[in-house]
Protein backbone atom coordinates (compact mmCIF):
# COMPACT_ATOMS: atom_id res chain seq x y z
CA UNK A 1 0.00 0.00 0.00
CA UNK A 2 1.60 3.21 -1.19
CA UNK A 3 -0.84 5.61 0.53
CA UNK A 4 -1.16 5.21 4.27
CA UNK A 5 -2.58 6.94 7.31
CA UNK A 6 -0.61 5.43 10.19
CA UNK A 7 -0.81 5.53 13.97
CA UNK A 8 2.74 4.31 14.61
CA UNK A 9 6.11 6.02 13.95
CA UNK A 10 6.91 6.32 10.23
CA UNK A 11 9.80 4.32 8.78
CA UNK A 12 11.09 6.46 5.89
CA UNK A 13 12.90 3.57 4.22
CA UNK A 14 9.59 1.75 3.67
CA UNK A 15 8.33 4.62 1.50
CA UNK A 16 11.60 4.71 -0.46
CA UNK A 17 11.49 0.96 -1.05
CA UNK A 18 7.98 1.31 -2.54
CA UNK A 19 9.13 3.73 -5.27
CA UNK A 20 12.47 2.21 -6.23
CA UNK A 21 12.19 0.76 -9.73
CA UNK A 22 14.37 -0.16 -12.66
CA UNK A 23 13.02 2.90 -14.53
CA UNK A 24 13.95 5.30 -11.76
CA UNK A 25 17.07 7.44 -11.92
CA UNK A 26 16.06 9.71 -9.04
CA UNK A 27 14.23 9.39 -5.74
CA UNK A 28 13.28 12.43 -3.68
CA UNK A 29 11.92 12.23 -0.15
CA UNK A 30 10.16 14.97 1.76
CA UNK A 31 10.01 14.45 5.51
CA UNK A 32 7.74 16.74 7.50
CA UNK A 33 8.64 16.91 11.20
CA UNK A 34 7.11 18.53 14.27
CA UNK A 35 8.67 21.96 14.84
CA UNK A 36 9.10 23.40 18.31
CA UNK A 37 9.04 27.16 17.69
CA UNK A 38 6.55 29.05 15.52
CA UNK A 39 7.54 32.69 15.92
CA UNK A 40 7.64 33.23 19.69
CA UNK A 41 5.26 30.38 20.41
CA UNK A 42 6.59 27.14 21.77
CA UNK A 43 4.82 23.96 20.77
CA UNK A 44 4.87 21.24 23.41
CA UNK A 45 3.36 18.50 21.23
CA UNK A 46 0.83 17.99 18.43
CA UNK A 47 -2.16 15.84 17.79
CA UNK A 48 -3.23 15.02 14.23
CA UNK A 49 -6.73 13.83 13.43
CA UNK A 50 -7.92 12.48 10.06
CA UNK A 51 -11.09 11.48 8.29
CA UNK A 52 -9.19 8.31 7.63
CA UNK A 53 -10.93 6.64 4.67
CA UNK A 54 -11.24 9.93 2.79
CA UNK A 55 -7.69 10.98 3.66
CA UNK A 56 -6.36 7.73 2.25
CA UNK A 57 -8.38 8.25 -0.95
CA UNK A 58 -7.11 11.80 -1.32
CA UNK A 59 -3.48 10.71 -0.88
CA UNK A 60 -4.10 8.17 -3.62
CA UNK A 61 -5.67 10.88 -5.79
CA UNK A 62 -2.53 13.00 -5.37
CA UNK A 63 -0.47 10.01 -6.49
CA UNK A 64 -2.65 9.62 -9.60
CA UNK A 65 -2.35 13.34 -10.37
CA UNK A 66 1.43 13.05 -10.17
CA UNK A 67 1.51 10.01 -12.45
CA UNK A 68 -0.62 11.93 -14.98
CA UNK A 69 1.71 14.97 -14.88
CA UNK A 70 5.11 13.29 -14.64
CA UNK A 71 5.75 10.23 -16.77
CA UNK A 72 6.85 7.04 -15.08
CA UNK A 73 6.64 8.54 -11.60
CA UNK A 74 6.15 6.24 -8.62
CA UNK A 75 4.76 7.71 -5.42
CA UNK A 76 4.38 6.69 -1.78
CA UNK A 77 2.90 8.92 0.93
CA UNK A 78 2.50 8.11 4.63
CA UNK A 79 0.92 10.52 7.11
CA UNK A 80 0.97 9.79 10.81
CA UNK A 81 -1.92 10.74 13.10
CA UNK A 82 -2.40 10.78 16.87
CA UNK A 83 -0.06 12.34 19.42
CA UNK A 84 3.35 13.47 18.12
CA UNK A 85 6.29 14.97 19.97
CA UNK A 86 8.74 17.63 18.77
CA UNK A 87 11.01 16.20 15.99
CA UNK A 88 8.66 13.27 15.25
CA UNK A 89 7.98 12.57 11.58
CA UNK A 90 4.43 13.56 10.61
CA UNK A 91 4.59 12.89 6.88
CA UNK A 92 6.89 11.29 4.35
CA UNK A 93 6.58 11.59 0.58
CA UNK A 94 8.78 9.50 -1.69
CA UNK A 95 8.75 10.05 -5.45
CA UNK A 96 10.83 8.32 -8.06
CA UNK A 97 11.14 9.33 -11.70
CA UNK A 98 13.62 8.60 -14.49
CA UNK A 99 15.26 12.06 -14.12
CA UNK A 100 15.92 14.27 -11.09
CA UNK A 101 14.06 17.43 -12.04
CA UNK A 102 10.73 15.62 -12.22
CA UNK A 103 11.33 13.92 -8.89
CA UNK A 104 11.89 17.29 -7.16
CA UNK A 105 8.90 18.97 -8.82
CA UNK A 106 6.49 16.10 -8.25
CA UNK A 107 7.46 15.83 -4.61
CA UNK A 108 6.84 19.55 -4.04
CA UNK A 109 3.48 19.19 -5.76
CA UNK A 110 2.49 16.38 -3.39
CA UNK A 111 3.05 18.35 -0.17
CA UNK A 112 1.22 21.42 -1.52
CA UNK A 113 -1.76 19.23 -2.49
CA UNK A 114 -1.80 17.56 0.93
CA UNK A 115 -2.26 21.01 2.44
CA UNK A 116 -5.22 21.66 0.11
CA UNK A 117 -7.34 18.53 -0.16
CA UNK A 118 -6.44 15.87 2.41
CA UNK A 119 -8.76 15.87 5.45
CA UNK A 120 -6.17 15.89 8.22
CA UNK A 121 -6.10 18.43 11.06
CA UNK A 122 -3.44 19.45 13.51
CA UNK A 123 -4.04 20.48 17.09
CA UNK A 124 -1.17 22.41 18.64
CA UNK A 125 -0.53 22.24 22.36
CA UNK A 126 1.27 25.42 23.38
CA UNK A 127 2.75 26.25 26.77
CA UNK A 128 -0.38 28.24 27.59
CA UNK A 129 -3.19 26.44 25.79
CA UNK A 130 -4.24 24.45 22.75
CA UNK A 131 -5.72 25.22 19.35
CA UNK A 132 -6.95 23.45 16.22
CA UNK A 133 -4.99 24.88 13.31
CA UNK A 134 -6.86 25.78 10.12
CA UNK A 135 -5.16 27.60 7.32
CA UNK A 136 -2.47 29.89 8.64
CA UNK A 137 -4.46 33.11 8.52
CA UNK A 138 -7.65 31.44 9.76
CA UNK A 139 -9.47 33.43 7.10
CA UNK A 140 -10.06 30.94 4.31
CA UNK A 141 -13.65 30.63 3.14
CA UNK A 142 -15.06 27.97 0.84
CA UNK A 143 -18.20 29.62 -0.50
CA UNK A 144 -18.85 26.81 -3.00
CA UNK A 145 -18.40 24.18 -0.32
CA UNK A 146 -15.37 22.72 -2.14
CA UNK A 147 -11.71 23.66 -2.26
CA UNK A 148 -11.55 26.28 -5.03
CA UNK A 149 -10.63 24.68 -8.31
CA UNK A 150 -8.19 22.32 -6.71
CA UNK A 151 -10.21 19.12 -6.62
CA UNK A 152 -10.81 18.82 -10.31
CA UNK A 153 -9.01 15.57 -10.94
CA UNK A 154 -11.47 12.72 -11.57
Amino acid sequence: MNYRIVHEPIVVQEAIDLVISRNAGAVTTFIGTVREMTGNKKTMRLCYEAYEPMARKKLEQIGLEIKAKWQNAEVAIFHRIGELDITDIAVVIAVSTPHRNDAYEANRYAIERIKEIVPIWKKEYWEDGEEWIGNQEQTKAYPSGKPEGVDTYE
Binding site: V118, P119, W121, G134
Partner: protein, 77 residues
Amino acid sequence: MNKLLFFAGLKDIVNADQLELDMVGKTVKEVKAELAQQYSDLPLESVMTAINEEFAFDDDLIEENDVIAFIPPVSGG
Protein backbone atom coordinates in the same frame (compact mmCIF):
# COMPACT_ATOMS: atom_id res chain seq x y z
CA MET B 1 -31.43 8.57 7.52
CA ASN B 2 -28.00 10.15 7.29
CA LYS B 3 -24.84 10.19 9.30
CA LEU B 4 -23.22 13.63 9.80
CA LEU B 5 -19.53 13.68 10.73
CA PHE B 6 -17.69 16.51 12.47
CA PHE B 7 -13.93 16.92 12.75
CA ALA B 8 -11.35 19.00 14.60
CA GLY B 9 -12.82 22.20 16.06
CA LEU B 10 -16.32 21.44 14.73
CA LYS B 11 -16.49 18.38 16.97
CA ASP B 12 -15.97 20.58 20.03
CA ILE B 13 -18.75 22.97 18.96
CA VAL B 14 -21.30 20.23 18.23
CA ASN B 15 -20.07 18.28 21.23
CA ALA B 16 -20.15 15.06 19.21
CA ASP B 17 -18.18 13.57 16.35
CA GLN B 18 -21.32 12.34 14.63
CA LEU B 19 -25.06 12.86 14.50
CA GLU B 20 -27.81 10.72 12.95
CA LEU B 21 -30.31 12.97 11.20
CA ASP B 22 -32.63 12.62 8.23
CA MET B 23 -31.44 15.06 5.56
CA VAL B 24 -32.71 13.16 2.51
CA GLY B 25 -33.81 15.48 -0.30
CA LYS B 26 -32.08 18.53 1.12
CA THR B 27 -29.15 20.30 -0.49
CA VAL B 28 -25.81 20.64 1.28
CA LYS B 29 -26.61 24.32 1.67
CA GLU B 30 -29.92 23.54 3.38
CA VAL B 31 -28.23 21.05 5.69
CA LYS B 32 -25.72 23.72 6.66
CA ALA B 33 -28.48 26.25 7.29
CA GLU B 34 -30.27 23.78 9.54
CA LEU B 35 -27.09 23.15 11.52
CA ALA B 36 -26.39 26.87 11.78
CA GLN B 37 -29.76 27.35 13.50
CA GLN B 38 -28.96 24.75 16.11
CA TYR B 39 -25.24 25.53 16.54
CA SER B 40 -24.77 29.23 15.91
CA ASP B 41 -21.00 28.99 16.62
CA LEU B 42 -20.33 26.66 13.65
CA PRO B 43 -18.08 28.56 11.18
CA LEU B 44 -19.85 26.99 8.19
CA GLU B 45 -18.63 29.62 5.72
CA SER B 46 -15.13 28.20 5.99
CA VAL B 47 -16.19 24.56 6.05
CA MET B 48 -16.03 22.18 3.11
CA THR B 49 -18.48 19.32 2.79
CA ALA B 50 -17.96 15.76 1.62
CA ILE B 51 -20.67 13.27 0.69
CA ASN B 52 -19.55 9.64 0.92
CA GLU B 53 -15.89 10.69 1.11
CA GLU B 54 -15.90 12.99 -1.94
CA PHE B 55 -16.00 16.79 -1.84
CA ALA B 56 -19.50 18.07 -2.60
CA PHE B 57 -21.00 21.33 -3.85
CA ASP B 58 -23.50 23.38 -1.88
CA ASP B 59 -26.29 22.51 -4.30
CA ASP B 60 -25.70 18.73 -4.26
CA LEU B 61 -28.69 16.73 -3.00
CA ILE B 62 -28.53 14.37 -0.04
CA GLU B 63 -29.73 10.82 -0.68
CA GLU B 64 -30.74 8.01 1.66
CA ASN B 65 -27.77 6.67 3.71
CA ASP B 66 -25.38 9.35 2.46
CA VAL B 67 -22.61 10.13 4.93
CA ILE B 68 -22.11 13.89 5.16
CA ALA B 69 -18.79 15.09 6.52
CA PHE B 70 -18.03 18.68 7.50
CA ILE B 71 -14.41 19.49 6.81
CA PRO B 72 -12.85 22.60 8.32
CA PRO B 73 -9.70 24.02 6.66
CA VAL B 74 -7.18 21.20 6.62
CA SER B 75 -3.76 21.42 8.29
CA GLY B 76 -1.94 18.19 7.55
CA GLY B 77 1.63 17.87 6.36
